[in-house]
């Protein structure tokens, strides 16, 4: 009851000084809004990165042939050899065929780790091209893949089948295309499986027969960056890797993805894989195989992101501190202004506790209102920011509650000193104050 009365009093005094209350709140509003905005943008960013990486697969271990570092103790970043991460990403390894992983190596490996390995995915990019049917066309990026690729990359087949071992050994000219390509090229009532398509690539025309259709998914992160229309978007065009290698001088593989069975310690398997390939590369003066664990990559990426967004949020929190000091400042002014009132209240029987509670309530209400307004402003910022970045906005309920609790705590913390000053006033001096 006494608390309700305090809240009523607090509102009464805020109403008496609307402009002042608003300006004081502004500090809190800006502080809370920026913290919430940054956290929610950071959250949605890390969520989309994690989900994107999960699409690649958390059970996946990436094998790459890389140059042996001259100095073994040199820094090895999460991406690989710590030299030029871009060369790792683009997979441009100028190693010779003898330095690369062979199908033999891989099948030996699969045999040895049968119980732990689900499948092995190999893919080699073969540039981009265009699939044409009459006046209709679809842009594609051509990839030579093996049968294990479908599982490793979590492709969803809509119809037909994926590339199988017979396609591989027979070097059959089959392809797996996206549903988007099908939509662009075929009439709705035609079953694309079994149809032949012509692939135009750097002047040459090749004919492939469609063995299956997979569901194309846009990666939300990178879609916003591309300016092409939906019709012109490149989708992957998968052909047997043996076919892709036909006219290539390099027949072996520089990158391979191993998908472990669920429940397997991928960290340990990663080490085992490195040890396995060490045998083959011991005598190689320049090259070795590195294995990178995807789940640890995801962890590192999301940890890095959350560290960054926390760091920014901490900086934003400084504005909250400033806001809190603003509340304290205005409460001190308010106490001085109302010295006589405090004296009167004390003469009428108010205990120090009552006075302290009255002013703390007032400070708390100011920062609570500021906090709530700031929360909504921050959520709005988060939605705007996320949509600008092309990710889905994400809010966590705990963050919201924490914000409200935190803004109340600011009020209590910064209100305590002025309130205590008010409570400790001598009633006679306070009554005499002009």
């Amino acid at each position: 009851m006494f608390y309700m009365e305090n809240i009523r009093l607090a509102f009464e005094s805020l109403r008496a000084n609307k402009m002042r209350a608003l300006l004081t709140m502004l500090g809190i509003i800006i502080g809370i809004a920026s913290v919430i905005g940054i956290i929610s943008v950071g959250n949605s960013l890390s969520l989309s990165i994690t989900s994107e990486m999960k699409n690649i697969g958390t059970n996946n271990i990436l094998l790459r042939v890389r140059e042996k570092s001259i100095d073994n103790s040199s820094f090895r970043g999460p991406v690989g050899n710590g030299r030029d991460p871009m060369s790792m990403l683009s997979g441009k390894v100028s190693a010779e065929d003898k330095d690369l992983m062979t199908l033999d190596m891989l099948s030996t490996f699969t045999e040895l780790y049968k119980s732990q390995v689900d499948s092995i995915g190999i893919s080699e990019s073969d540039g981009s091209g265009q699939v044409k049917a009459g006046r209709l066309y679809a842009n594609v990026s051509i990839s030579g893949v093996n049968p294990g690729y479908v599982r490793v990359n979590n492709l969803a087949m809509i119809s037909g089948r994926f590339i199988n071992d017979r396609d591989m050994s027979g070097r059959k000219k089959v392809c797996i295309v996206s549903d988007r390509l099908v939509k662009n090229i075929f009439k709705a009532n035609i079953n694309p499986v079994g149809q032949e398509v012509r692939l135009y690539k750097s002047g040459a025309i090749q004919t492939y027969s469609i063995a299956g259709v997979y569901k194309h998914t846009d990666s939300p992160m990178f879609m916003s960056a591309s300016t092409t229309s939906e019709k012109d978007t490149q989708t992957a065009f998968y052909i047997p890797i043996t076919v892709e290698k036909l006219d290539k001088t390099i027949k072996n593989f520089s990158t391979v993805t191993v998908m472990s069975n669920t429940g397997i310690d991928t960290g340990k398997l990663t080490k085992d894989i490195e040890r396995f390939f060490e045998k083959y590369y011991k005598s190689n003066p320049k090259w070795e195989v590195s294995a990178i664990n995807m789940s640890s990559q995801i962890e590192i990426a999301s940890k890095m992101l959350s560290t960054v967004s926390t760091a920014i949020a901490v900086i934003a929190a400084i504005s909250l501190l400033v806001g809190g000091i603003g509340v304290m400042n205005i409460m001190l002014v308010s106490v001085t202004e109302r010295t006589r009132e405090i004296g009167t209240r004390k003469a009428l029987g108010a205990k120090n506790f009552h006075i302290r509670m009255q002013f703390i309530s007032e400070a708390m209400i100011i920062s609570l209102i500021g906090g709530v307004i700031g929360l909504f402003t921050g959520l709005l910022l988060g939605v705007t920011g996320s949509s600008l970045l092309g990710t889905a906005a994400s809010f966590s309920l705990p963050t919201i509650f924490l914000t409200i609790a935190f803004s109340m705590a600011i009020g209590i913390f910064f209100g305590y000193y002025p309130a205590n000053k008010a409570a400790k006033l001598d009633p006679i001096d306070a009554l005499r104050y002009e």
Binding site: A347, L348, G349, A350, K351, N352, I428, L431
Partner: protein, 237 residues
């Protein structure tokens, strides 16, 4: 009942300059008495009022209020005494500017834990007593001086105290309004049987009470009863 024995108040402004504000005050005021306290500025009457009102504590001596040793009390106990046993009326009204008359009268009851409904009921009754029932929802700045002081008197009675202390309640009012306020004090005294201690400069007002105590240089120099039954009758008419 107020009983004051050998009461002293000194301020230490560095030895040897002790400032004696009150010297050896001995006094007894019975329940239901209407007492006027007169004296020049700086005579110590305000200090005395502050001690009687439990706002201040004496340097030495005893102050018993209804057989409670107020001079030994802690801050919190003094607050309790102020809230429950004493009602203050100030020269400058000291109403809370942001609260209406009703809320102002309710205020002391807030600190003694009276329930909301009871607060409102009692505040309304008291405002009626002082003739302010039609100004219940007005803010203090919408009231005249006399009206403000009437609200303040109602407020001083909120917790049904045994003593009402009025520190020059008519000091900020013109003579006519002052008389009206004085009439309310007389009415409260008559109807509520309160002990009222009135500090005043006006001898005319002092003579409307039952007893005049004069303080000079921190000591009581005279303490005389007033025989004025006729005069009170006059002012009432």
């Amino acid at each position: 009942m107020i009983k004051v024995k050998n009461l002293e108040k000194k301020y230490f402004i560095g030895t040897p300059n002790e400032l004696h504000v009150l010297n050896n005050i001995n006094l007894q005021i019975e329940d239901g008495e209407f007492v006027a306290l007169v004296g020049a500025s700086g005579s110590g009457k305000s200090t005395f009022m502050n001690i009687v009102g439990a706002l201040d504590t004496p340097t030495s001596g005893e102050y018993m209020l209804d057989n409670q040793s107020v001079h030994k009390m802690t801050q919190n106990e003094l607050s309790d005494i102020r809230g429950k046993k004493i009602g203050f009326v100030f020269q400058s009204f000291n109403l809370i500017a942001r609260s209406n008359s009703l809320k102002n009268v309710e205020l002391p009851m807030l600190y003694t834990g009276v329930s909301g409904r009871e607060r409102s009921r009692r505040a309304r009754a008291l405002l009626e007593l002082v003739g302010m029932e039609d100004r219940m929802h007005h803010l203090p700045n919408e009231l005249s001086g006399g009206q403000k002081q009437r609200v303040a008197i109602a407020r001083s009675l909120a917790n049904d105290p045994s003593i009402v202390l009025a520190d020059e309640p008519t000091g900020a009012l013109d003579t006519k309004t002052g008389k009206m306020v004085m009439d309310i004090f007389l009415q409260v005294h008559r109807e509520k049987k309160k002990t009222i201690i009135l500090i005043t400069h006006s001898l005319e007002l002092a003579e409307m009470t039952q007893r005049i105590i004069t303080i000079s240089d921190g000591s009581i120099v005279s303490d005389v009863p007033v025989f004025h039954s006729l005069r009170t009758e006059e002012t009432r008419c």
